[in-house]
């Protein structure tokens, strides 16, 4: 049997990134401030984790204006969705084998 630990995705080792992905998986989009509030993070902290996920092409940024206020929202990409599903499957596999 394959070692399920090797199937875990390093990108989701951080609880914060795990939280970001969880929220994006079940919503069409989530905006920056909603994520910040949901995960109780500071601007800088959330932004750096988002940048990391963006570089992996797991999330896509959509910038727009709501009236005059800039609005940043995030969408999970098909690659991100697949990667996260595989990560969850690996977590479940590990629990089953304990």
């Amino acid at each position: 049997m394959k070692n399920a630990f090797q199937e875990l995705n390093k990108a989701f080792e951080s609880r914060i990134r795990l939280g970001i992905m969880s929220a994006l998986m079940v919503n069409d989009f989530v905006d920056f401030n909603a994520l910040k509030e949901l995960l109780e993070l500071t601007d800088g902290n959330l932004a750096s984790h988002m940048r990391a996920l963006e570089q992996l092409a797991y999330v896509r940024v959509e910038k727009s204006f709501l009236g005059r206020k800039p609005n940043t929202r995030y969408v999970v990409t098909p690659e991100g969705r697949l990667a996260f599903e595989q990560h969850i499957a690996a977590l479940e596999q590990i629990i089953k084998n304990i």
């Binding site: 969880s22 989530v30 909603a34 509030e37 977590l91 479940e92 590990i94 629990i95």
Partner: protein, 208 residues
Amino acid sequence: MNAFFKPEDDLAQIRNIMERSTKFLSLSALSAILAGVYALVGAFLAYRIIYGSDVVLYFELKSQFITPETMPLILIAAVVFVLAVSTGLLLSYRKARAAGQALWNAPAQRLFFNFIIPFGAGSLFVVILYFRGYYSLLAASTLLFYGLALLNAGNFTFSDIRKLGMAEIALGILATIFPGKGLLFWALGFGAMHIIYGGIMYLKYERR
């Protein structure tokens, strides 16, 4: 990978965030109990007016939609509704603030629109029934549409709300079978059911 890695904690975190980002969990159970109390007081006052009145209200209504006898009943209904909604908003706002969340966030908006569309359609339907003189269907249709609105909205908050919706629908059907007992079914649906389900939800989620 550190030695303290707990996959079950990660999965619990995932489930928690998924739920909190889609469901409005600041809904106050206490406000449902209070709404039920207002409804019972309103039903009691309405009962005294209807059965203490010299005129037969149904006949009065044939010629005129709003008479001196029916005015207080409409007023009671309006006061109960406004009190219940404002208590709900105020207590949910306090619950949201205590949890460090905004009241009008994405899950709240989803909950609101999924409730207001069937509820708004039902409200219009009931007003039209009233002006067309179908008084015997008022209690049944308010309960049915309210139940359908709750069933729909329950997908975006505590799932107990779906069960409350189903209970209201059942009462609505019963009210259709017994058209003369409208006030009784209103008292059960808007009074007793809110107190029962508010109580269950209070014990489950809010008691510390």
